[in-house]
């Protein structure tokens, strides 16, 4: 009997061990399978309550929606996934693509990232649209060639006047700009020209020794006379310091160019894509993806989009470009910046916009005639990772919500006056490029940035929207984008990563510093 009991106990124990081992092996097998297919969510300890911290208190300026997005990420696996996805959205900047989805109906104002980035780039200064674009202005008395071959002083040009564009077409003057200039004006006259040219000091001229600012020219320099197609030594140079001297510029329909003493070109495609690149880099900067922000030089985009991106040897002096070519240039080459570049042919200073350089590079390509690809190689250090064709308001809205501005090329014109909600009425026809930099849904529309600076007026919404910008209704956006020449700009390579501060992460930070533009 005792032996039988011992035998039963032995059997029971063996069965127990076999069952135990089987269960253990099964659990391990399941865990291994789980690891091979989809990584298991790491086990996390339960979060202790921290009663002394007010967990419901929200810092001033901290968007409430962050709570919803991040809710529960620490304690549960789904939350962990959500957090990583959100991190991916914000820190890595997902590639724009056809699956762009509007996340919610929250407005997004990308220009605020630009304001923030510019403050770090030029401490104490605010970003102003067209700041780099008004470096080359013309003085009172500069003669503009009119439609009938006569000339008229630039200050006498009226809205609606017709002038000759660079392509020889008759175009209507749409805007007139006047600003007050304090600084040096320089007047030069070439030996083989009866025309003198007066310009603001930063205006660059092509010489046989390369590009030189007008303020750096001497009487031993040879300058190029486009109208005579010859080099000529300078006969005279006069300098004058002026205080609050009025200087002028105009914009012209369709070609956006006019002839003023042989100089002057205004290109919109390069500005639209330049704004797009600047704003996207600003978004990356405010996210901490880069440690640096600097504005793009539009002349390179213009020249590159006309020559290199189209596989040409020369682009000619007929003005203009199109969005697809600018997009191709930015992806396959990249951006130059508002910096001085030391090249084998001398210093090329891009710190100020130069219309004459844009015109020259528009013919010879980025870098000009004798560059031999040197500045093309420099541009390749900072390519845009992706440009995505955007055809509808919804796609553009999704791109903007993800931090990608949209350069838009269309024929749509707009009124000069914004309505009470900041919208501009569609009117007329502009063959023009601008940039969408914000989205709202209370009255669905996109915020359009025009490089013409203070060309329009009327109420602003929000109050800090840039001068020269205006809201465009969603239906009008669909029409503009439907032309198929508008692109979202995403990803910008070649910038330095920030240095880590390991002593800072436990400290308090202003949350908005890490969010690019979600509206309060």
């Amino acid at each position: 009997m005792e032996n039988e009991q011992k035998s039963n106990a032995k059997v029971a124990l063996v069965v127990f061990i076999i069952v135990f081992l089987s269960v253990f092996v099964l659990i391990n097998a399941l865990q291994t399978k789980n690891t091979n297919d989809t990584p298991a969510i790491p086990p996390l300890r339960p979060i202790p309550t921290i009663p002394d911290y007010d967990r419901d208190a929200v810092q001033p300026g901290r968007p409430d929606d962050i709570d919803k997005q991040f809710q529960g990420w620490v304690p549960d696996p789904e939350g962990t996934r959500e957090f990583l996805r959100e991190l991916g959205n914000r820190a890595q900047l997902l590639q724009a693509g056809p699956d762009l989805i509007v996340r919610d109906n929250e407005p997004t104002y990308l220009y605020r990232a630009l304001y923030k980035a510019y403050e770090s780039y030029r401490p104490g200064q605010k970003w102003i649209v067209g700041r780099q674009g008004i470096g080359d202005c013309f003085v009172k008395g500069t003669l503009v060639t009119m439609f009938d071959g006569t000339s008229k002083p630039i200050e006498s040009i009226l809205l609606g006047d017709c002038v000759i564009s660079h392509i020889g077409a008759i175009r209507k003057v749409e805007n007139i700009f006047e600003r007050s200039y304090t600084g040096q004006l320089v007047t030069i006259r070439a030996e083989h020209s009866e025309k003198a040219v007066t310009a603001t000091v930063e205006h660059k001229f092509v010489t046989q020794a390369g590009w030189k600012a007008i303020g750096q020219l001497t009487t031993s320099d040879f300058v190029y006379l486009p109208d005579k197609e010859q080099w000529s030594v300078l006969a005279s140079i006069q300098r004058k310091y002026v205080v609050n001297e009025p200087v002028y510029d105009i914009t012209v329909a369709e070609d956006h160019s006019f002839i003023a003493n042989g100089y002057g070109v205004h290109n919109c495609v390069s500005w639209a894509f330049g704004h797009g690149a600047d704003i996207h880099l600003a978004v990356m900067y405010t996210l901490g993806d880069t440690a640096e922000w600097k504005p793009a030089a539009t002349e390179a985009i213009y020249g590159g989009s006309r020559v290199e991106a189209r596989g040409r040897k020369t682009g000619g002096y007929v003005d203009g470009s199109y969005g697809g070519a600018a997009a191709r240039w930015l992806v396959n080459w990249g951006a130059l910046f508002r910096l001085p570049y030391q090249t084998p042919n001398g210093l090329i200073d891009l710190t100020q916009y130069s219309a004459s350089r844009a015109k020259d590079w528009g013919n010879y390509g980025c870098g000009g005639k004798d560059d031999n690809g040197y500045l093309d190689a420099q541009a390749k250090r900072h390519p845009i990772r992706d440009v995505t064709l955007v055809k509808t308001f919804r796609e553009a809205a999704a791109a903007i919500q993800s931090g990608y501005p949209v350069a838009v090329c269309s024929n749509q014109g707009f009124s000069k006056t914004r309505d009470e909600q900041g919208f501009a009425r569609p009117v007329g026809s502009w063959a023009h490029a601008m940039c969408f930099i914000g989205v709202r849904f209370d009255r669905p529309g996109l915020l359009c940035l025009n490089s013409w600076s203070n060309w329009n007026s009327g109420p602003k919404y929000p109050a800090d929207m840039p001068d020269g910008s205006f809201w465009v209704d969603a239906k009008v956006c669909d029409s503009m984008l439907g032309r198929g020449d508008s692109f979202a700009i995403s990803g910008y390579d070649g910038f330095p990563y920030r240095e880590l501060r390991h002593d800072q992460w436990v400290l308090n930070i202003r949350y908005v510093d890490h969010l690019y533009a979600i509206a309060p």
């Binding site: 253990f24 990584p39 620490v74 440690a291 890490h514």
Partner: protein, 159 residues
């Protein structure tokens, strides 16, 4: 006294071995003082309320462990990994703390914590914010696990 048969002792030994090996997958006892920064001093030096200091040390340890687990989890996602640069890891830990403390800061009560933890992380991770490889990712995981151990040790040893 009746002698236990050898097969029974062996069976019990096997069972105990497997039970212990299974238990080791869960967070175990803290044991001796871990290598790394002395967070006992950090939490003790600045808090008059030891109970609060213990809770805060525990929460900091949990946060560090969570960060390490998140980095590890993301690294196992292969090509789908999101955290590809040290700057992104920096964002992860900032946002983690931000969310976890609802915008509050450990610095409020423990002004030495940033400096002490920072010096440890400096020595382990360097300061480059650029792309990370598997080796670098492993260093981050190990460093944050180590920081977690030090903090949890502090939580259990604050007197």
């Amino acid at each position: 006294m009746q002698q236990r048969p050898p097969w029974l002792l062996a069976a019990v030994g096997v069972a105990v071995f497997f039970l212990l090996s299974t238990r080791n997958e869960q967070p175990g006892p803290l044991g001796p003082k871990p290598d790394g920064p002395d967070l006992v001093a950090v939490f003790r030096a600045t808090s008059e309320d030891k109970a609060t200091a213990r809770k805060d040390a525990l929460s900091f340890g949990v946060l560090c462990e969570a960060i390490a687990s998140m980095i590890e989890y993301d690294g196992r996602r292969g090509e789908q990994a999101r955290l590809l640069t040290a700057s992104q890891l920096d964002d992860l830990r900032r946002w983690s703390r931000e969310y976890y403390l609802r915008g509050q800061s450990y610095n409020t009560r423990y002004p030495q914590l940033g400096e002490v933890a920072g010096a440890f992380l400096d020595s382990k991770l360097g300061t480059a914010g650029g792309p990370i490889d598997d080796s670098c990712r492993t260093r981050w995981i190990e460093a944050y696990r180590q920081l977690a151990k030090c903090s949890l040790y502090a939580a259990e040893n604050l007197e």
